[in-house]
């Protein structure tokens, strides 16, 4: 019974006020700071032993073996054109569990976990055509920092990401 409830809860998550007090994992891409719902995060690990997939978009770095399961790795820095994609022992991969699928995203660095009350979250400004704000739940304010709160589920299931076959229904 619990699974559908979680699913509906995240569906409702698009509505800003549903985030009464939510925890977000914050990470940096270039100079920007982003936040994703902590419940979507499975673990954080380093970047190594990646197997390239031919003819995949540039931001899909390939697949790795995560304790026996095959997990695709997406470099958010390439996807959002932020920061310089360097790969060394400090490169961080956030392993996400999004609608039953496991995937990893490469980011510049993971900062901390922040609890945001509803009043700390502002709706995203409307950039109309210049910027697709569909994946942004809102902008969080913590002291002087601005967090871009991402709807990671929506982003990852977007067909432009090419992560999921058209045929599979979710």
């Amino acid at each position: 019974m619990s699974e559908p409830q979680i699913a509906t809860a995240t569906a409702a998550g698009a509505v800003v006020k549903a985030h009464a007090a939510n925890e977000f994992l914050t990470f940096t891409l270039g100079t920007e700071e982003y936040g994703i719902e902590i419940l979507k995060v499975q673990e954080i690990r380093g970047y190594d032993a990646i197997t390239r997939i031919a003819n995949a978009p540039e931001f899909i770095k390939g697949i790795v073996n995560l304790r026996g399961i095959i997990v695709p790795i997406i470099d958010m820095r390439i996807k959002f054109n932020l920061g310089t994609p360097t790969y060394d022992q400090f490169t961080v991969v956030i392993i996400l569990n999004v609608s039953g699928r496991v995937m990893g995203i490469v980011v510049d660095g993971v900062s901390d976990v922040i609890t945001l009350a509803a009043e700390q979250v502002k709706p995203p400004p409307d950039f109309s055509v210049h910027l697709d704000t569909n994946y942004i739940i809102g902008l969080g304010t913590v002291d002087e920092r601005m967090l871009i709160l991402m709807d990671i589920e929506k982003l990852m299931s977007d067909k432009d990401m090419g992560l999921i076959d058209k045929s599979s229904v979710h």
């Binding site: 019974m1 619990s2 699974e3 559908p4 409830q5 699913a7 509906t8 809860a9 569906a11 409702a12 032993a49 197997t51 390239r52 997939i53 031919a54 003819n55 995949a56 390939g62 697949i63 790795v64 073996n65 304790r67 026996g68 399961i69 095959i70 997990v71 695709p72 699928r101 496991v102 995937m103 090419g162 992560l163 999921i164 076959d165 229904v169 979710h170």
Partner: protein, 738 residues
Amino acid sequence: MSNGNSQGGGGIDMSQFFQVFFDECAEHLGNMEGLLLAIDPATASADDLNAIFRAAHSMKGGAGTFGFTDMTDVTHVLETLLDRVRKNEIPLTSEMVDVFLQAGDVVKAQLAGHRAGEDGLSDTTPASEICVRLQQLIDGGAAAPAAAAQAASAASAASAAATVATVATAQSYRIAFKTAEPAESLEKVFANLRVIGELEIVVSPKPRKRGKTAQQWELRIAAFASAQKLLEQFDFVKTEGDIGISAVVASPAGAANPAGVADSTAAATPAAPQLKLVPAPAVEAADDGFGFFDDAVGVPSIESKAEDGFGFFVDIVPPVADAPVQSPGRRSTDQPSVVSGIAGRRDNDKVVVAPQVDTLINLVGELVITQAMLAQNGATLDPVIYEKLLNGMAQLDRNTRDLQETVMSIRMMPISFVFSRFPRVVRDLASKLAKQVELKTEGEGTELDKGLIEKLSDPLTHLVRNSLDHGIESPAVREAAGKPAKGTITLRAFHRGGNIMVEVIDDGAGLNREKLLAKARERGMAAPDTMSDQEVFQLIFEAGFSTAEKITDVSGRGVGMDVVRRNIRDMGGHVEISSNPGGGTRISIRLPLTLAILDGMSVAVGEEVFIIPLTYITESLQPLPEHIKSIAGHGRVVQVRGDYLPVVSLHEVFNAKPNVTEFHKGIMVILESEGTKAALFVDGLLGQHQVVIKSLESNYRRVQGVSGATIMGDGKVALILDVAGLVNTPKAVFAEAA
């Protein structure tokens, strides 16, 4: 189960005894059916008749003890008639055998109903019909033994009419589910369902925005598909408790009988999915549904489920299956949720423990990988200093291998699990088509992976039906051609190399090359006369391709063979056909031994490693420069012993940076898939491994040219090549160029 308990329980826990009865009864039914199929009315031996009688009698006794009166009623009449036949008061006729078989089906359905915990079949029409038929046979025999045959044939005419009525009726299901999805997003599911059958939305909630609360839906669908198939459409309903599906017994009149809606509270019980398969009255319907080939997605027929469940299989469950479950009594008390949860198919214990077995196999796969990793690292250690450690590692290696072998063998089942349903299929179909056919099976003991066994059933049924309908000629035609009037269909299974071969062989008319070519041209396909026989025969697997002059209810619509090929490809297998006009057709299915592990050759391209399934590799060689030719500028071929094979460069397909670009400095791996050969150019061969197949699609998507992934000894992922796709790459390149 709970209904059954309270019905016969009387306070004591009767469920363990029920389980014993169900198992025994299924065994008796299987025995009875086997004997009936083998019997020849003219020369029936007293022993056989006695054995059939005993089976019916035992079932009646058991059913009476547990208070299953519906079963007692049918078995009683059945037993009465059998008794008179075995005492030679009434001569046995082939019509009687038919009726006995039908009666067996009815009892089977009743048994299924009781197993699923119903008080009895909601629709008793088939049961009462069969009782009437049996009674007619008894009366006819008693009144005037000479007129028995006449009475029987009249009766069979009546039943034929009844059958026709049922044929038009698909099985009805009532589906109730809860979901928070809005109506618009369900529309897609409904559209899919409409393809499967006639859909009626009984209860739909008021339209509103996607909210938190789940809303109740209720559908009714008349389809030729199995409940399992329908359930697949509801994947979005995450928890099984939120969906209930129950078979509504279609009355012969055609309309879904409202009184037949079984257990309307099913969906409200979150405990277990209500997956009730009530086969008997629907057997004809499902069977014919199969024949129409309307179920283009290769739906497992209800008949197959029913027979898998309650007919033959119980008595041939291999001993391993019993190991985790010590006694039927213990099983039913300890695992009530399992038993009721998969009530429709808890027939063989392996199916019940399947999830644990799969987990076990995955874990052992992990262990093998870890062990390989350790071995790799340990190889660099100084054997003098680390002697003890290395000894331990060697032992670990041995133990891991033994464990893996043993665990893999749990998954193995003899192919007789599939074959055993065909005597009945062939018998029914042959009499329907007025053909004389003998079915031979060979190599029933051949073992293959449980997953493959389950998936093999549908394609094989298609192939056997096709052989019977299109292959075997009518007796008159056969005799005119100088062949025995009775045709033969042979099912054969055997090991070849690392594969299992399953063959369907008939001695019928064979495939007509000219007709196939003409048909292909008619459909606007490129079909030059120079096509090889193998390629021409493969045409029958194209969607919508049928050379049958008229569409029968058995086959001829051209849907089906493409499904067969797709199903077999999905299993990692291949179909090949050989045929000679007038002499018959042989359809060979080549399957891997198991779904979980394959033998692969690892090859290198630059820094990357790929795995080629060993079964596709015919040889590997380093070509001489003069053996490489090019055709029209693009498209290279390599000469291998007189043949010119197209060259596929793996580094071009995968956009990789190779270390070697000159063909004569690298390696050509000669691949063969479905009769097509190609040479795959790689940097070099690395070695041969057993690899554990991992799905790419569970977290990612399908990748062109790749059939899966595996984890190598160093923990890195390597892609497994889709050979069938790669071999056809040159064709695609030429098509683009042209």
